[in-house]
Structures are given as structure tokens and as C-alpha cells.
């Protein structure tokens, strides 16, 4: 239970970039899992993959629901960038640099389109293999590979534009 909670919370957090939203969504995921547990069959794959699939559907629903709100937040993002630039000059040590890189990556992920974002999160952050991602996203393997590839390249370009170069 705790293992799944942590994984699902991370998935939600990487997708939404907001802790409170991720917490609310994690609760919704487990409520949905609890209510639809009877519909789970082993033919769907591993239980973890099924839970990930439920999470993904919920995240997409949430993304569509909050699209309008995000447009109004664009100004706040600009302000946050300025604050980040200021704060980056105040953190010289290594752990702070790692945390800073994590923050940049999270921001870059948030700028990625949802299709590419979820593919990259599932592959590179959650460590799922192509078959599992194919089951979660319900798209052919070729599409999964293509989305992961395009997502990585796009993310690298976004980071380049932000002046961040991970080694």
C-alpha cells in the first residue's frame, strides 16, 4: 500500500508539478482503484500496471479539466522564473545543485505536451518497459517508442532554452 502510494504520488507530482494537486489526485486514484477493484483481471497485466493505467486516465482527465486555469497561471510562471534565477545564484553546494537541476527538469516536464510527458515519465522516471507503457497508454509499441523519443528530444531542447545542460 505504502509502496503504491509513493509511486502514484510521484507519478501525479511529475505530471502536475504541484504537491497539493498530486496529493488530491493520489487520493482520487486510490478511491477509484478501491471502487473498481472487482473489475481488475490478471489478463490486464500486473496489478501495478493496472493502477498506473488508472492513474494515467485520471491525470488526463485532470489535465483537460484544468487547462483553462493553467492559461491564467502563465504570468505566475514568468515571475517564478525570475525568482529561480535569483535563487540559483545563492546555492553553491552540490546537493543544492542537484535539487536545482531536479526543479529545472520538473519545470521542463510541465512544458511538454501531455502525450510526450506521460511517455517520458513512465519510461525514464518510473522505469517501466515498453510493454508496460504500451498497456498503460493503450497505444501500439511503435507509438510508445516514438513518443518517448520525441519527448526526450523536446525536453532536451526546452532545457537548452532554459540554459540548463545536464551532464
Amino acid at each position: 500500500m505504502r509502496l503504491h502510494t509513493r509511486r502514484i504520488f510521484n507519478l501525479c507530482y511529475r505530471f502536475t508539478s504541484h504537491r497539493q494537486e498530486a496529493e488530491d489526485l493520489s487520493q482520487e486514484v486510490f478511491l477509484r482503484v478501491y471502487r473498481t477493484l472487482g473489475s481488475y483481471r490478471s489478463t490486464y497485466g500486473a496489478f501495478g500496471t493496472w493502477v498506473t493505467s488508472v492513474t494515467r486516465n485520471l491525470l488526463i482527465d485532470h489535465y483537460r479539466r484544468t487547462r483553462r486555469d493553467r492559461l491564467t497561471d502563465s504570468m505566475e510562471d514568468v515571475m517564478a522564473k525570475v525568482e529561480d534565477k535569483e535563487s540559483s545564484t545563492r546555492r553553491p553546494d552540490h546537493s543544492a545543485a542537484v535539487a536545482e537541476l531536479g526543479g529545472h527538469l520538473q519545470k521542463a516536464l510541465a512544458k511538454l505536451s501531455p502525450d510526450l510527458r506521460e511517455a517520458v515519465i513512465l519510461r525514464d522516471l518510473e522505469g517501466l518497459d515498453y510493454n508496460e507503457i504500451q498497456r498503460v497508454l493503450e497505444v501500439p509499441e511503435g507509438t510508445v517508442k516514438s513518443r518517448i523519443n520525441r519527448g526526450r528530444i523536446e525536453l532536451a531542447r526546452i532545457l537548452d532554452q532554459m540554459g540548463v545542460r545536464p551532464n
Partner: protein, 224 residues
């Protein structure tokens, strides 16, 4: 065939994941090494993938699990006061605990009986290992002696009975060997329901009756 930049972009993840066949990987590398744009792209995506995989997982809030449990299986009621203090006694009402306690009690009774511990007049000396050893030794010897006497008695009774009433199959007129049954295909030499077998059955019944009489008249038992 030489690859172009577009092909490099398309197969970049396959190359980084090591999923390209050796020949294609060599062609990929040949182009990427000679093209400044592709070299930079490969380096930046490789760095990105490494950074993504090295990212520390975000710690979930501590209240998340209790909140989820409350919303799914319902809020848990915490007992308080004397109910909380006596909460551990609920285990005593479980059938498995009762069965376990009964089993331990019976095992203790059997062991104490075998070791000669007299619990009706318990003394400290009963728990002395020397005393326990002697009691056990005496008990084992007593059981052995009773068993030996029982079988000795059984043998004597059997011999007397045999001399007084010889078994019908040992009588002189029946000691002649019976004619061998015809053997052949489909015939067996198994038991048959002839007169000899009937006599054996009667003999066995007599032995069982004698055995029962001996058991019932054994020391410590009274005939009804």
C-alpha cells in the same frame, strides 16, 4: 548507406537504449561523430536521460496514507479509557487461543503423568531434576515390566489351551496333506472357503476371547 540528421533524431532513443543492431549503431555513430548538431543533440539527450533517471523520488506527505485509508475503508475508531487498556484481552476470546491453551494444558498433564510429578501434593522436591529423572526411570521400568508380564501370561495361557484343546488343523486325521488343487491357467492358490479356513477362523476367535479375558483380569482391573 550514410545516415542523415533526420534518421539520427528518429533512432536516437533506440541508440541510447542499446536497441539498435550493431550495423545500424555503427552507421549512427559514424554520422553523429561527424555532425556537430547531432553530436550536441546526442550529448544533451544522453545527459537528460541520466538526469531523469537519477532524480530522487518525491516524498509523499505523511498524512496521505491515513487519508486514503479513511476514504476507502472508512475512519478507524480508536478506543479510549478502560476499553483501550483492556483491548489486548480480545485475543483471549479467539477460538484459536482457546484451542492452543487447551492443547498446552493436555500436553502438560500427559508429561507430568509420564514424569511422575504428583500435582495433587505439589512440593518443591517434585521439580528437582534428580527426582524427575528417577520418577521417569521408575515409570519406564514399571511399564516395561507390566508389558513383559502381560505377554508372558499370554504365552502361558496359550500353551495350556493348546495342550488341553489342540487346534482342529493340528489333529492327526487332518494332518494329512490335502490333495493339491489343480493348477492351470486362470486358477490361483489363494485362500478358499474350505473347512481348514473355517477352523482357523474359530481358532482366531478363541484367541481374541482369551486375550480380552486376560486384559480384563489384569492387575488393577475388576471383573464385572
Amino acid at each position: 548507406m550514410n545516415w542523415d540528421c533526420e534518421q539520427i533524431e528518429e533512432r536516437l532513443s533506440d541508440y541510447l537504449d542499446g536497441a539498435l543492431p550493431p550495423k545500424e549503431a555503427a552507421q549512427f555513430k559514424a554520422h553523429a561523430d561527424g555532425c556537430a548538431r547531432c553530436t550536441q543533440l546526442v550529448a544533451s539527450v544522453r545527459g537528460l536521460v541520466g538526469a531523469l533517471r537519477a532524480m530522487e523520488p518525491e516524498a509523499a506527505p505523511l498524512r496521505l496514507v491515513p487519508t486514503i485509508l479513511d476514504k476507502t475503508i472508512g475512519p478507524r475508531t480508536q478506543p479510549f479509557g478502560w476499553r483501550a487498556w483492556l483491548g489486548w484481552t480480545r485475543i483471549l476470546w479467539q477460538p484459536r487461543f482457546a484451542f492452543g491453551a487447551l492443547t498446552i494444558l493436555i500436553t502438560g498433564a500427559v508429561l507430568s503423568q509420564a514424569l511422575g510429578i504428583e500435582w495433587h501434593t505439589p512440593t518443591v522436591a517434585d521439580l528437582n531434576p534428580v527426582h524427575i529423572y528417577r520418577s521417569a526411570d521408575q515409570g519406564i521400568h514399571r511399564i516395561y515390566a507390566r508389558g513383559a508380564k502381560f505377554f508372558g501370561d499370554l504365552r502361558v495361557v496359550y500353551e495350556i489351551e493348546s495342550r488341553l484343546n489342540p487346534a482342529p488343523d493340528q489333529e492327526p486325521e487332518q494332518q494329512k496333506p490335502a490333495p493339491a488343487p489343480p493348477s492351470g491357467p486362470g486358477r490361483t492358490e489363494g485362500p478358499s472357503s474350505g473347512p481348514n479356513n473355517l477352523n482357523r477362523a474359530e481358532t482366531s476367535t478363541r484367541y481374541i476371547t482369551r486375550f480380552a479375558c486376560i486384559v480384563l483380569t489384569a492387575p488393577g482391573r475388576r471383573m464385572p
